[in-house]
Amino acid sequence: SLGRTSTSSSEESDEESVAEMEAARLKEELEEKKKFIASLKSRPWRMNRKLKCLKDAQQFVEKFEGYLGKGKGQTLYILKVTMSKKWNKFNRAFKNIMTAFIPWEKRIKEVESHFGASVGSYFIFLRWLYGMNLMLFVLVFGLVVLPEVLLGAPYGTIPRKIVPNSEKDKAMDVAILLEFEGYFKYSPLFYGYYNNQRTVGFLHYRLPLAYFLVGIGTFVYSLIAVVRRYANNSEEREFAFSWILFTSWDFLIGNSEAADSKFAAIITNIKESIVDEEDKKRCENVHARRCLRVLANLITFLCLCGSGYLIYYVVKRSVVFAAMDKDKVTWMEKNELELVVSLLGVAVPPLFEGISEMEEFHPRVALKWQLWRILALFIANLYSLTFALYDEVPLKFEKENAIKNATMWAMKENYGNGTMLSNSSAVAQPALHPADVMQGPCWETGIGIEFMKLTVSNIELAYLTILFSDFLRALLVRYLNYCWCWDLEAGFPSYGEFDISGNVLTILFSQAVIWVGTFFSPGLLGVNMIRLVTSMYIQSWAVMCCNIPHSKPFRISSHFYKVLLFIMLCASIIPVLYAIMVFPPSFDCGPFSEKQKMYDIITETIEKDFSAFWVTFFSYALNPGVVVLVVILMVLVIYYLKIVSKSYQKTNADLRKKLRMRREEEKNQMNNKDSSNHIMKDLEELLPKKTVIQLSTKDKMGESLKLSPKNGTMANGADGRFRNAVTRPPGPRMVGHLPGMPRLQIVSPGSARGRGQVIRW
């Protein structure tokens, strides 16, 4: 091909020649410095200066003469230079290869170019979550599941690992398997499968200890991963308009339709910034509005309580159903719990949106309130589910005790009979096949099963939502449009926009479920991996095929999502810790069976595996007094740091205000005007008639911004305060028609904007 000279062969000689060139150059400089030193005496400078120059030159000569003077020194120098160049090349090649391994890069770039950076950031967040879950999966799988499967007792040898005879005939039914009972229940997917042997296999791998530590370790790793990405992001309003002017174009856009939306978004952005400026100078003191806001919060609180109670009630019902005969219970009743939880997550957020209409906040603030409320909803749901399940645990303990007594009695009987009949010392164990042994209700596995079912139903609901609200809707709008009375594409229902915040909260909630459930069900992470991968493909296809770009600029930064993720993580640690601390483990299943508490495994390990010194050390260190003292100390340190940071923020804000005031004063002095507020007055005219803030708009401006229905309206209809301003997409730009671009240049005002090009199969 043109221009490809002989690169490969010349590279080697290339580097050597370069090294030689550098050596030659250094030699020249060295000669110069020597000459300089010799001539220094005769220069007419001051003594100080001469001494300083002399010192510098001598240092230079000392440093480099070694490299150049002797023959060996020179080759060493060249060797060093060549090595460093080879290392650089290797580094670059490595980095190239690593970028090839970043998954889904092309797919995400395509979405970005069509929909802009904000939708792309959702997929980047999804990819990051996938990475974190992959690490967790490898951790759990490698340290817990694999050793148990490879080194532990195989399937069928001990009671907990085999399907008991009472369930055997139905264990293979699809209906049972879908409920994760039957063969799934007695598999490494769930807590109950794991044996409580202290060490397994020839490696003496301490499985129960590993299980416990990995359980805690997943939280620690997640914390580290989340906090690492927790970059500080201050909302800078100092150069608001300058930034809009200079930095608002999204250079990742390569598609003309997305470019038009970006235009509209920039316009709306500018108008919102003006409203922001006005907002800052206004203090709201309207009592009626305050009452409404209190009322709105009250209603939200009631909704939360209501949904929490609903979940609690449904859990109680599901316990009743579980006790009933399986044939009499319909599918609906069996899966009631999961359906209710998932549907609450889908149905309540629009309700919150309606409530927020009442509050009349600035749109950005309203959106933040909305997200906080939905977060509270999810956490409330998660907690009511978990604690409702925990409520059932004492019942299971009673059942356990009953079974324990029964088994003891049976064993005693057998044992008694055995010794009476045989004289030999070989006291045979009661010859019970493992499948016949009565097994207790393993409460951990029970909880694990519930979470597994919840995750699966979340996945199903998510895909069904995509199918109906995006795909079918797009199909209908596209094809029914030919024979419908009003324009489906421009009016209701039109094509959907990608709901970033809804999607992010859904994956956050699922992630929280995973974090809580992994301790009780190691297989949950595997299911989550499948979910994330398929989600990436299905959602990116759905977005490209059925959605249109946003018309409103989207204000939520990814920093905010990280904050939400962090809160979810903290919220999901608590139920697990509660279970570990409060409930004793089941007596016959799981790695902690026959212990009083789950964390006894730690004390057991310390006693048996560590030397006496450590034992005494830990017994002193874990003294309650010491622990309490340490905790108080840490709380004090945190409090102190918080106060310090608050004072810094305050100082920052003060300084900024001072700076701004000083600049205005200077300018006023220079320009001899009384104030610069005449500019603000001009900006007031920019506002459309219908706004939050009742300003006296001049009619001239108001009319040019009012929505005239005869003009082609944007595909999303004309609702919302700021959409009034955008009456039609930007017309022909000042630049002439560019060659090679098949875009329509002139959009006549009368035609509706067809979005037919959007759907791609």
Binding site: S1, L2, G3, R4, T5, T7, S10, E11, D14, E22, R92, A93, K95, N96, T99, E236, F239, A240, F241, S242, W243, L245, F246, T247, S248, W249, F251, I253, G254, N255, S256, F263, I266, I267, I270, R663, E666, K667, M670, N671, S676, I679, D682, L683, E685, L686, M701, S704, A725, T727, R728, P730, G731, R733, M734, V735, L738, P739, G740, M741
Partner: protein, 195 residues
């Protein structure tokens, strides 16, 4: 068809470009093949029409100005050297870039030079100041015909009010730097050229 030989890239040229721009050998050859693929006329230079064929530049409101930045003052063709010189502004800044010769001028991809490149996109008459009229032109390109002139004028005034520090009603290069102080220019104005 002209002299084909002059379109091949010679070793000395690669060396010179390397020194001037800091790109590596393989990057330069790769970019050369991109240059030749854009050069439909096959005469070793690019014209404005060649650039306008790139879709991302075509839909960019500042597309024409960016294309203009490639061409030296008053010329209509840009050769490979000029092409590389402009692209060098977008090379990412590496932390360990050892400057063997401390007296050499600032590399083309320093933050200052990147900002200067951006500044020149707005400062059309090259008087080292972005005046109110130039801001109005940019605004008009960005918003089309949706907003009236007076409103755009107010926005331009507001922008100058934010950025202007010495009261001359225009934005100088130093004021421009101050405005974009908190923006991560090193990352946003960099393209990851594959080695």
């Amino acid at each position: 068809m002209g002299s084909r030989a002059s379109t091949l890239l010679r070793e000395e040229e690669i060396e010179e470009i390397k020194k001037e721009t800091g790109f590596s050998h393989s990057q330069i050859t790769r970019l050369y093949s991109r240059f030749t693929s854009l050069d439909k006329g096959e005469n070793g230079t690019l014209s404005r029409e060649d650039f306008q064929r790139i879709p991302e530049l075509a839909i960019n409101p500042l597309g024409d100005r960016i294309i203009n930045a490639f061409f030296p003052e008053g010329e209509d063709q840009v050769n490979f050297r000029g092409f590389m010189r402009t692209l060098a502004h977008f090379r990412p800044i590496e932390d360990n870039e050892k400057n063997k010769d401390p007296t050499a001028s600032e590399p083309l991809n320093s933050r200052n030079n990147k900002l200067r490149f951006a500044f020149r996109l707005y400062d059309l008459d090259r008087d080292d100041k972005i005046s109110r009229d130039e801001l109005l032109q940019v605004l008009r390109m960005m918003v089309g015909v949706n907003i009236s002139d007076e409103q755009l004028g107010s926005i331009a005034d507001r922008t100058i009010q934010e950025a202007d520090q010495n009261g001359d009603n225009s934005i100088s290069f130093n004021e421009f730097i101050k405005v974009l102080e908190k923006v991560d220019v090193e990352q946003k104005m960099s393209i990851r050229f594959l080695h």
